[in-house]
C-alpha cells in the first residue's frame, strides 16, 4: 500500500490537527479526505509516527498517540467533569439527555452547570468557578473539534463530543467498588476502555 506523504492531499492540515488532538467531523474538509478511500493510507502513514487514526461510525475521526506520555492530561479531566455535571443536571431536570445536549445553537449562559452546590463543588476542582471559566473550557473543547463555537458565546456540540459521553458509558461498565480503589497512577484500566464498542475502527 502506498503511504507516502505526497499521495495524501490534506496531509499538512491533518498533521497540524493531530499535533493538537483535533477531531474531524462530518462537514470538515479534512473529514471527507480522511473518511474516504484514503483512510487506510493515512492510517498506515501515521502508524509510522506511532499515531493511530480512529474512524468512528458516528461521523468523526481522531488520532491517539502510542506514546503513553501524551495520552492523558488534566484538561481531559476538566472536560469529563464538565460533561458529567451537564448530563447529571439534565437528567435531574427530567429532560432527554441526548436531545438536550446536542440541541443546536445553545448559549453558554444557559448551561445548567453552576446552578447546584454539588455541581459547583465538582467544577471548582477543575478550575471552573464562573460562567467565564465555562466559556474558556468550551473554547478549549472547540480547539479539539468537540464543539463549534461562534463569537457570541453560542455553541453546538459536534459528533466527536460523543467521546466524552462514552466516558460516562464506560464508567457504568467499571465494577462499582473500583471507583474508590483506583489511583491516578492506575492507567491500564482506563486507557483500555476507549474507544468504546460504539466505535468502528478500520484495520489496515
Amino acid at each position: 500500500m502506498n503511504s507516502s506523504a505526497s499521495s495524501l492531499p490534506q496531509i499538512a492540515s491533518i498533521f497540524h490537527g493531530i499535533k493538537t488532538g483535533r477531531h474531524w467531523c462530518f462537514g470538515d474538509p479534512e473529514y471527507d479526505d480522511l473518511s474516504g478511500d484514503l483512510f487506510d493510507q493515512y492510517q498506515t502513514f501515521f502508524a509510522q509516527l506511532e499515531l493511530k487514526l480512529h474512524r468512528d461510525a458516528r461521523g468523526f475521526i481522531y488520532a491517539t498517540s502510542d506514546d503513553d506520555d501524551t495520552k492523558g492530561s488534566g484538561q481531559i479531566t476538566a472536560f469529563v467533569v464538565f460533561t458529567a455535571v451537564w448530563v447529571d443536571a439534565v437528567a435531574d431536570a427530567g429532560e432527554d439527555v441526548g436531545r438536550s445536549l446536542f440541541a443546536a445553537n445553545q448559549r453558554v449562559a444557559d448551561l445548567p452547570h453552576l446552578r447546584s452546590e454539588a455541581h459547583r463543588r465538582a467544577l471548582a476542582q477543575v478550575g471552573v468557578q464562573a460562567p467565564g471559566d465555562l466559556e474558556k473550557l468550551m473554547r478549549s473543547m472547540s480547539r479539539l473539534g468537540l464543539v463549534d463555537m461562534d463569537g457570541q458565546s453560542r455553541f453546538t456540540l459536534r459528533a466527536a463530543f460523543n467521546r466524552l459521553l462514552d466516558v460516562c458509558l464506560d464508567e457504568t461498565r467499571r465494577p462499582a467498588n473500583s471507583a474508590t480503589t483506583d489511583t491516578a497512577t492506575d492507567q491500564t484500566t482506563t486507557t483500555t476502555n476507549t474507544p468504546t464498542s460504539a466505535t468502528t475502527e478500520a484495520q489496515s
Binding site: 502506498n2 503511504s3 507516502s4 505526497s6 499521495s7 493531530i18 499535533k19 493538537t20 488532538g21 509516527l49 488520532a63 491517539t64 498517540s65 506514546d67 506520555d69 501524551t70 495520552k71 492523558g72 481531559i76 479531566t77 476538566a78 472536560f79 469529563v80 467533569v81 460533561t83 455535571v85 451537564w86 448530563v87 447529571d88 437528567a91 435531574d92 427530567g94 429532560e95 432527554d96 439527555v97 441526548g98 463543588r121 465538582a122 476542582q125 467521546r163 466524552l164 462514552d166 466516558v167 460516562c168 458509558l169 464506560d170 464508567e171 457504568t172 467499571r174 462499582a176 471507583a179 474508590t180 483506583d182 489511583t183 491516578a184 492507567q187 484500566t189 482506563t190 486507557t191 476507549t194
Partner: protein, 407 residues
C-alpha cells in the same frame, strides 16, 4: 377496620394532588422517606406525616410482599382508577401461553370426540374453542393498546416523568410483554403451531363428515386468520415504535448513571485523583518524545558492540565518473518505457538487473533522481535488505515506483 365510603371519598377529594402524584408513580415501590418527600412536594395543608398515616390506614398504600418498608399503590385501588380512566392493561405472556395450552387441550378433546363420533361434544368443544380464540384476540388487542399508550405518553413533549422513570416503564413493557409476545407470535412460535394443528383437524373432520356443515369449521378458521395476521402485524408495529424509544431511553439512563458515578468519584477522591486524565486519549505529537529512553538505551548498546573503528571510505581513490552520459542514458530509457511496465515493485533490484552493467555509481544516481522526480511517485517499504549492485552493496528498504497520475 372498615373504612366508610364517605370518609374515603372525602379524603380523595381533599388530597387529590397527592393521589395524582401517586398515580404518576404507580409502577414504583417507594420507601417512607420518598413518600414523605412526594407528599411534601404537593404542598398539601395537612402535614406529610399525617397524610402518610391516613394513606396507610385507608389502605390506599400497602406494603409490598417482596420488601419490608417498601410501599406501593394498592392494586385494588389502582384497578379502580384504571377502570375510571378506561386504561388498557397489557396481558402477560404467561396468560397467553396458558390460553394457547387450553386450545391445545381442546384440540385433543375434539380428536377424541371425532373418534367416538360424538357430534354434540364436538360442537360444544368448537364453541369453547371459538370463544378461546376470541379471548386471545381481545387480550392481545389490549396489550397492543397498552403498549401504544405508554409509548405515546413517553414520547409526549409535555411529560412529567424523568428519563429514568420512563425507561423503567418502557423497559418493563419491552422485556415482560413485547419480547415474549413476539416470540409466541413468531411464524415458528406456539400460536402458529396451535393454529396449524386446528386447521388440519378441522379439515379432517369435514372430510370424514364428522362435521356435517363446513360453516362450523370456517368460523374458527376466520378467527385464527385474524389472530395470525392482524395481531402479528400489530405487534410488529409496536416493536417498531418501541425499539428506538427503548434504545434512546436506555442510552440516556446509562449516561446519567455513569455521570453520577464520575461525580461521586470526584467528590470522594478529588478530581486529580479520580483517574480521569486517561479516559479519552488524544493525539499530541511531540518531537521531544521521539528520543525515548528505550531508543537511547538501544543506541548505547550498539556503541558498546563496536570493537573497532569503521573502515575508512576512500572517496578520493574511488571517484564517481565525471561523465554523466550513463545516467542520462538510463533515465532516457526509463522515460520511454511503456506505462504498462509501471509500477516497478522494487526499483533498486530492477535497476541492478536492467542497468547494473553501467556501474555502481550511475545506478545509485539514477535511483536518487527517480525517487525525487515529481513525475514519479515513490513509496518506501520494510524490511531493509542488502542489494548487491555492480560490485557494490546498498542497504535499504524496498522502493516502489509508479507514474504519478496526470489530471
Amino acid at each position: 377496620m372498615l373504612i366508610s365510603l364517605q370518609e374515603a371519598a372525602a379524603f380523595l377529594n381533599t388530597h387529590h394532588a397527592v393521589f395524582d402524584e401517586l398515580w404518576r408513580r404507580r409502577d414504583e415501590t417507594l420507601a417512607e422517606a420518598e413518600l414523605l418527600a412526594l407528599i411534601s412536594a404537593t404542598r398539601s395543608e395537612a402535614t406529610p406525616a399525617y397524610l402518610l398515616t391516613q394513606l396507610k390506614r385507608m389502605r390506599f398504600m400497602i406494603e409490598t410482599d417482596a420488601q419490608e418498608g417498601a410501599w406501593e399503590l394498592a392494586p385494588a385501588f389502582a384497578r379502580w382508577v384504571e377502570y375510571l380512566q378506561q386504561i388498557a392493561q397489557p396481558v402477560s405472556s404467561a396468560r397467553v401461553r396458558g390460553q394457547l395450552l387450553e386450545l391445545e387441550h381442546a384440540l385433543d378433546s375434539f380428536r377424541l370426540a371425532e373418534m367416538r363420533d360424538d357430534l354434540n361434544t364436538g360442537r360444544e368443544i368448537l364453541r369453547e374453542t371459538r370463544a378461546g380464540f376470541q379471548r386471545l384476540s381481545e387480550d392481545m388487542g389490549q396489550t397492543q393498546a397498552a403498549i401504544a399508550a405508554v409509548v405515546s405518553e413517553a414520547k409526549g413533549e409535555h411529560r412529567k416523568q424523568g428519563a429514568l422513570e420512563r425507561f423503567r416503564r418502557i423497559n418493563r413493557l419491552w422485556n415482560e410483554y413485547l419480547l415474549p409476545m413476539l416470540e409466541l407470535l413468531d411464524p415458528a412460535g406456539q400460536l402458529e403451531a396451535v393454529c396449524i394443528a386446528w386447521e388440519t383437524q378441522l379439515n379432517h373432520a369435514v372430510e370424514k363428515q364428522f362435521l356435517p356443515e363446513r360453516r362450523l369449521a370456517e368460523r374458527i378458521e376466520r378467527d385464527m386468520r385474524g389472530l395470525r395476521v392482524a395481531v402479528r402485524q400489530g405487534f410488529r408495529e409496536c416493536q417498531n415504535e418501541l425499539e428506538p424509544l427503548h434504545a434512546r431511553l436506555r442510552r440516556d439512563t446509562l449516561w446519567a448513571e455513569g455521570a453520577a458515578r464520575i461525580l461521586k468519584r470526584v467528590e470522594d477522591l478529588g478530581a486529580p485523583n479520580a483517574s480521569l486524565d486517561y479516559t479519552m486519549p488524544t493525539s499530541n505529537f511531540r518531537y521531544v518524545g521521539q528520543m525515548s529512553e528505550a531508543a537511547l538505551v538501544a543506541s548505547a548498546a550498539r556503541w558498546r558492540d563496536i570493537s573497532e573503528p569503521p573502515p575508512v571510505i576512500d572517496f578520493a581513490g574511488a571517484p564517481a565518473a565525471a561523465d554523466s552520459q550513463a545516467v542520462e542514458d538510463v533515465l532516457a530509457a526509463i522515460e520511454t518505457m511503456p506505462t504498462k511496465n509501471f509500477p516497478l515493485q522494487d526499483l533498486l533490484a530492477w535497476l541492478s538487473q536492467e542497468h547494473g552493467a553501467r556501474g555502481f555509481h550511475p545506478v545509485l544516481q539514477v535511483f536518487s533522481l527517480l525517487v525525487t522526480d515529481s513525475r514519479y511517485q515513490a513509496s518506501f517499504h520494510t524490511p531493509i535488505s542488502i542489494y548487491d549492485i555492480a560490485g557494490g552493496s546498498v542497504r535499504c528498504g524496498r522502493v516502489r515506483l509508479q507514474l504519478r497520475k496526470t489530471s
